[in-house]
Each structure stands twice: as structure tokens, then as C-alpha cells.
């Protein structure tokens, strides 16, 4: 479904569109800055950028309520920003500083926020899938109506533990939305080179799990599908799968020479399907916002991102004592 059709159908308010625009732009600008800081040697190790996939988390966070949980892979900066974590704390974790969400001890791939119910940031491909089902298990055990979003990629979709989890999640009716962020490349291997399955979400049918494919470049389409998924889970009907077709513009990580796809393919996506441009068009053609208003938003976001970058440079490195803390929780007996 095209962006315009969804917009026309769902009577989206200017306020909502502006909200999506702002949140997606925040992720994009943040990630561009992170890439820049990586290039300057301020961020080390692995750094996986979310540029191009912004509509996925922004659309789904729009249907989450307080108490809902989320867990994802190592490509996690966008998820953290979308659930409301402070950009300063995220950027400072990327630079390995005291002011980071994990006090500099986790890094880009391992960040958490108990306050925002963000359960990581996991570096082992697909580990977050059973962990997410476990979070949903804890909510069902406690008898509330919270839902967990367990995000994973098309690469993780070939891991055995995903199917072990599908089986138990459906068996026990766990309130978990499995979000397959199909960005079409598992590192350098395209979906076509890793499976003959024509669709990833349909694999859930073998376990009795309902699901659907979603246009992940269209934030409104994502949100609409997210509403169906969450309603299914909150009604106690068990898990739901969303296969969100998306695209990452940047390499798998910062050190990806990107020889597995053409420059033209990436450019075509950017020109024709960009999630932020789509919303921008809707805002302008629907006369919901003027060029100047959008420029002002852009400027404001650049300010927030630049402040985060400054914070991440000025925050001190963790004290050496931190080496020995947080290995064990204190006994509470």
C-alpha cells in the first residue's frame, strides 16, 4: 500500500504526521552523527547504523503503551531513541563514557533502560527472540496486559532458536509481537541467497502463529499493522508476526565495503521509498506544515544531536573502579 493511500484512508492528523517526522529525523540525524564520530575514532569496535529503517520502530512505538517492553539486536540505536531514551546517554555509551546508559561498559550493541522497558541491545544473532518471549512470559505470569516487541532481522530468522521460541510462544499464548525487520541483507548475504522460503512471516504458520507482511518504508502502514498485532496480543490470543520490509542504506557495520549490492540499488531506495521523505511529502502536499516549519524542526533536531555528541565527548571515561562493579548483584536475602 502506498503512503498516500494509507494517509488518505486513516485520516492522519497533522500532529501525528509531524510526530513521526520528528522521531524518524531524530534517528537519522543521530545515526549520521554516530557515523561521523566513528570516523573520528571516538566510537570504537562495531557500530551498526539504522539509517533507512526508521519507519519500523517509529511506527510500532506509536502503538505501544506504558509497561510494554522491547528487545532487539545489536542494531539498536533507533529502538532506544524511539522508546524515549535520552540521546545524550546513548551517544555517551557509544563513546564508552561514564554518562552512557551502561556507564560505558556495554557499548553500541549492549544498552538497556529499565525505566523505558528497553531490554537490550543483544550481540548474539537471534538471542533476543527467546528473551523477548521470556519478557512476555513474565507479563502473562503477572497477569497484566503488557506486550513485548521482539525485533530481529532476516538473518536472525534462520536461527533455530527463533523456531523453538515460536513453538513455545504459541503453545503458551505469550503476548509477544515478533517483528522481523527484513532489510534484505544479513550482513552481505541477501535473503534470496540464504533461503528458498518466499516469505519469512509465513514460517510462523507452521506453529499456528498469525502474521502479515508490512511496508516498512511507510510509517503509517507499520503503525496500522502494529495496531492489529498489539490488539491480538492484548486480547490474549498469543503471539503475532510482522515481517516488515525495510532497507538499510549504510553498510552492515561501519567496516562494510558493501560489494554485495549496487550503488544504484541503494540510491533508488533513497530516491523513491525513503520513509522520511514520504512523510515530508504528505506534510507539504497536505499543507500540514510549511517548508519553514520543517526546517525549524530539522534545526532543532540537529541541535539535540550536536548536544548529544558534545556530551559524549565531554563525559569522562568510566573510573577504573568500574572494572570491578556490576559483576554480581548484591544479595537481598
Amino acid at each position: 500500500m502506498s503512503a498516500k493511500k494509507v494517509a488518505a484512508k486513516s485520516n492522519v492528523s497533522a500532529e501525528e504526521l509531524l510526530g513521526h517526522y520528528r522521531e524518524m529525523l531524530m534517528i537519522r540525524r543521530f545515526e549520521e552523527k554516530a557515523g561521523q564520530l566513528y570516523g573520528m575514532g571516538l566510537i570504537g569496535g562495531f557500530c551498526h547504523l539504522y539509517i533507512g529503517q526508521e519507519a519500523v520502530v517509529v511506527g510500532l512505538e506509536a502503538v505501544a503503551k506504558e509497561g510494554d517492553k522491547r528487545v532487539t539486536s545489536y542494531r539498536d540505536h533507533g529502538h532506544m531513541l524511539a522508546c524515549g531514551m535520552d540521546p545524550n546517554g546513548i551517544m555517551a555509551e557509544l563513546t564508552g563514557r561514564e554518562g552512557g546508559f551502561s556507564k560505558g561498559k556495554g557499548g553500541s550493541m549492549h544498552m538497556f533502560s529499565k525505566e523505558k522497558h528497553f531490554y537490550g541491545g543483544h550481540g548474539i544473532v537471534a538471542a533476543q527472540v527467546p528473551l523477548g518471549a521470556g519478557l512476555a512470559f513474565s507479563d502473562k505470569y503477572k497477569g497484566n496486559d503488557n506486550v513485548t516487541f521482539a525485533y530481529f532481522g532476516d538473518g536472525a530468522a534462520n536461527q533455530g532458536q527463533v523456531y523453538e521460541t515460536y513453538n513455545m510462544a504459541e503453545l503458551w499464548d505469550l503476548p509477544v509481537v515478533f517483528v522481523i525487520e527484513n532489510n534484505q541483507y544479513a550482513m552481505g548475504t541477501s535473503v534470496k541467497r540464504s533461503t528458498k522460503s518466499p516469505s519469512l512471516w509465513e514460517r510462523g504458520k507452521a506453529y499456528g502463529i498469525e502474521g502479515e507482511e508490512v511496508d516498512g518504508m511507510n510509517v503509517l502502514a507499520v503503525k496500522e499493522a502494529g495496531e492489529r498485532a498489539v490488539a491480538h496480543c492484548r486480547a490474549g490470543k498469543g503471539p503475532y508476526i510482522l515481517e516488515v520490509k525495510t532497507y538499510r542504506y549504510r553498510g552492515h557495520s561501519m567496516s562494510d565495503p558493501a560489494k554485495y549490492r549496487t550503488r544504484e540499488e541503494v540510491q533508488k531506495m533513497r530516491d523513491e521509498r525513503d520513509p522520511i521523505e514520504q512523510v515530508r511529502d504528505m506534510l507539504l502536499t497536505g499543507k500540514h506544515a510549511s517548508e519553514d516549519e520543517l526546517k525549524a524542526i530539522d534545526k532543532e533536531i540537529k541541535g539535540v544531536v550536536n548536544a548529544a555528541a558534545e556530551f559524549s565527548k565531554e563525559s569522562p571515561e568510566p573510573a577504573l573502579e568500574e572494572l570491578w562493579t556490576d559483576i554480581y548483584a548484591e544479595e537481598t536475602v
Binding site: F101, G106, Y119, N167, Y249, E331
Partner: protein, 451 residues
């Protein structure tokens, strides 16, 4: 405002690279995402994209230049209509100074002093109980005490436990808290760890620890490391338990002792009880502990009976070894089923006039090395006993601690008695030889006492 474009680091290890080719020329308008240049790293040729929009003002490093250090200014971007500054300011590296390579200023926390108080007082009544019953009683008591504790695993519910450890628990606590899983160790270990992140206190039963190898990624990467990686925000208060080590005639894939494996992991606590009182007191402590605990049981020990104190709430703290038999001539250190051989050997040695002190470690992490060292300073000799393999063994670690902390007290090298360095054979006679015997422990003790 003019902005310097710096030579980027394009891999975790890149320090310099070749500026292979400029894809823009001076005066070109550039928007974010455009490729500025091709840069050869130690790994590959990579495209370098523009982050900001503007006009390429001046190229400072010509294409084809090799050995361009990361963070060197390679070009200057200006805004539309802006002049290029005359001289490029010298590029300054913004990366923090590398930490000088020296030993960290902070030492690891000191080991606790040996605690020799008995597990229960002389006036407490005791009751003969099997290890199996003790484990079941401990779980039941803790499940009554805390609604968030639940048991999950293969055959723990309707079947009443593959080894009957969970007998009666389904009847008392219901299917919500005693959960039969499909045969899917990796999956349910991950789900249980997620449930622990979510605030519950799972007990995960592995039918045997041999099958936990399918789940070891979640045990280590998810359960043990998350507290540290989250800067102390969240961890996994849970117990992974089940029989470990050789049973009888079940062959190589069902007979491995994992004590040394798990003992190596910071973030895990590792328990290996010997007696029924150990099993009960330590299981209750394990369930209450806010960290992931590996609880290594033994099938052969399940049916053995020991005195267990009749108390409302009997617990044993972690990191507290028990001197099962006092002696002056040689220290024997063991844990779990290894204690059987250690105590049998001590009996035989006593007949020859050698008084062995036998230490039951009970927890391997934290390990009560103070009790071991205090004993070795008295006996000047040590023999360790375990069923696991020799290379990278628990005994190997203990002997290194003794060498580093009590070298001057030793009158003989430490001998580590272990299982043989072979996969477990099936044939009865071979299996017997693959395992440890009390006689081997006796021989080792005679060797270190020069008798």
C-alpha cells in the same frame, strides 16, 4: 561555516589508509549521503559518504596518497557562496589519549577470611533425608515463600521429574508454576532468562547438564553478562539446575562434568553440593540469590541419605567450604560426588596412620580459597579430587592458587586427581577405569606425604 573533512576510521582496527580516489572535485555541491571518496583500508576499498551538505571547498590530500592517518584533514567543505579559508588549520585528533598499558590501579576485591562456623547448632534435631528429597523440599519451601519463583523444564510436571526431583510440586503449585517444556533447551533457557529480566525468579531444570550445552549461549551471554553490560540496571536472578557428570553406563554424551567450564565465568555463581544438607541449604540460597546460579547435581547421589537439620529455614551461604574431616598430614579438597572418593580415601589413610583433612568446597564460584589455604598452611600438602577432565580442571586452578598464595608452606607438589583424559566409554570395565577411584586418591596422598 567551513568544515574540515577528516580521514575516517572505517574499521575497528584502522589507523591509516590510502585515499584511493576522489569522487567529487572542488566546487561540486554535495548533499548528505553522496560519496566523497574511495578509501582503501586494511580490509577493503570503502566508499566514504558525506554527512553534511555543502560545497567541496578544497581538497587537501590528493588521490593516490598512501598512509593517510585517521583524523587527518583531507578536505574542506564550505557553505554555498562562502570563501575557502586560506590555510587549513592543523587537524587535531579528538580521540581520547590511549590508556597507558599498565596494570590497573584497582585490585580485585580481596577474598573473604575463612568462616568455620558449623551449618547448624548442636541442639538442632536432624533427620535422614535423601539428596532427592532435600532438593525437592528446598524448591517447595522457596516456592511457598515467593510467588515469583517457578520451575520450568522437560518432564518436571506431569511426569514428576525425569529423576523425580520435582515429585509432588505440580500438585501443590499447579501448572502455572511447574511448567513442562518441549525438548528445546536453547529456547527455554532463553525464555527463562527473559522472564528473569522481567522480574521473575525461574528455576530451569536441565534433564542433564549435557543437554545444557545447547543452551550455554543464553546461560553465559544472556544471563551471566547482562548485569555488567547494563551497568547494573538489570540481571538474571535465576537457577539452572540438573544432574551433572557421569551417571552409570550412559556413554560419552551423557557423562561430562561441567564444573570447570561454568566456574570460569564471571557473573555466574556455581554450586556443587555433596550431601543432602548441602543440597537443601545451598538450593534455598541459590533461589534467593539475585544472580544466575549453576547448580550441579549428580544422579548417583540423588538416592543417598544424609542428616538434614529440621529447621524452618535452613540455608548455607555461598563461598563457605566445610571441613568434613579434620587432620594434620595432608589436605584433600573436593566437591560434589568427588567427596565420596575423598572421604573413602581418608578412611583408608587413617588405617595407615595418615590423618587427612577433607574439605568439601560446595561452591566453586565464589570459592572459599581461604579455608583451603589455612589447611595447607597446616598440612603443607594438598591433593584435589574431581571427576572432570585434567586439562583446565578445578584442581588445576586450586593448585595455582596454593602456589601463588602459600608456596613457602608446600612440602610437596599439589597432585590433582581427576577423571581420565578420555570421552566416557560404555563398557563397564573401561568406564570404571575412566572414573576416579579412592585408591588413586590414597596413592596421591601417600606420594605427597612421602610414605
Amino acid at each position: 561555516m567551513a568544515v574540515e573533512i577528516l580521514m575516517p576510521a572505517l574499521s575497528p582496527t584502522m589507523e591509516e589508509g590510502t585515499l584511493a580516489k576522489w569522487m567529487v572535485k572542488e566546487g561540486d555541491t554535495v548533499s548528505s549521503g553522496d560519496i566523497l571518496a574511495e578509501i582503501e583500508t586494511d580490509k577493503a576499498t570503502m566508499e566514504f559518504e558525506a554527512v553534511d551538505e555543502g560545497v567541496m571547498g578544497k581538497i587537501l590530500i590528493a588521490e593516490g596518497t598512501e598512509g593517510v592517518k585517521v583524523n587527518t584533514a583531507i578536505a574542506i567543505m564550505v557553505e554555498e557562496g562562502e570563501d575557502v579559508p586560506d590555510a587549513a588549520p592543523a587537524a587535531k585528533a579528538e580521540a581520547p589519549e590511549a590508556v597507558p598499558e599498565k596494570a590497573p590501579a584497582v585490585a580485585a576485591p580481596a577474598a573473604p577470611v575463612a568462616d568455620t562456623t558449623p551449618d547448624w547448632g548442636d541442639d538442632v534435631e536432624v533427620k535422614q533425608t535423601t539428596v532427592r528429597e532435600a532438593l525437592r523440599d528446598a524448591m517447595a519451601e522457596e516456592m511457598r515463600r515467593d510467588e515469583d519463583v517457578f520451575l520450568m523444564g522437560e518432564e518436571v510436571g506431569e511426569y514428576q521429574g525425569a529423576y523425580k526431583i520435582s515429585q509432588g510440586l505440580l500438585d501443590e503449585f499447579g501448572a502455572k508454576r511447574v511448567i513442562d517444556t518441549p525438548i528445546t533447551e536453547h529456547g527455554f533457557a532463553g525464555i527463562a532468562t527473559g522472564a528473569a529480566f522481567g522480574g521473575l525468579k525461574p528455576i530451569v531444570e536441565f534433564m542433564t547438564f549435557n543437554f545444557a550445552m545447547q543452551a550455554i549461549d543464553h546461560i553465559i551471554n544472556s544471563a551471566a553478562k547482562t548485569l555488567y553490560m547494563s551497568g547494573g540496571q538489570m540481571g538474571a536472578p535465576m537457577v539452572f539446575r540438573g544432574p551433572n557428570g557421569a551417571a552409570a553406563r550412559v556413554g560419552a554424551q551423557h557423562s561430562q562434568d561441567y564444573a570447570a567450564w561454568y566456574m570460569q565465568i564471571p557473573g555466574l555463581k556455581v554450586v556443587m553440593p555433596y550431601s543432602a544438607s548441602d543440597a537443601k541449604g545451598l538450593m534455598k540460597t541459590a533461589i534467593r540469590d539475585p544472580n544466575p546460579v549453576i547448580f550441579l547435581e549428580n544422579e548417583i547421589m540423588y538416592g543417598k541419605s544424609f542428616d538434614v537439620p529440621v529447621m524452618d529455614d535452613f540455608t548455607i551461604p555461598f563461598g563457605k567450604a566445610k571441613i568434613e574431616r579434620a587432620g594434620d598430614d595432608v589436605t584433600i579438597v573436593s566437591f560434589g560426588i568427588g567427596m565420596t572418593y575423598a572421604l573413602q580415601a581418608a578412611e583408608k589413610l587413617a588405617e595407615d596412620g595418615i590423618n587427612a583433612e577433607v574439605i568439601n568446597l560446595r561452591t566453586l564460584r565464589p570459592m572459599d580459597t581461604e579455608t583451603i589455604l589455612a589447611s595447607v598452611r597446616k598440612t603443607n600438602r594438598c591433593v584435589t579430587v574431581e571427576e572432570g577432565w585434567p586439562q583446565g580442571s578445578v584442581g588445576g586452578y586450586i593448585s595455582s592458587v596454593i602456589m601463588q598464595e602459600a608456596f613457602d608452606y608446600l612440602d610437596a607438589p599439589v597432585i590433582t586427581c581427576t577423571g581420565k583424559d578420555v570421552p566416557m566409554p560404555y563398557a563397564a570395565n573401561l568406564e570404571k577405569h575412566a572414573l576416579l577411584t579412592a585408591d588413586e586418591v590414597v596413592d596421591a596422598c601417600k606420594k605427597v606425604t612421602y610414605r
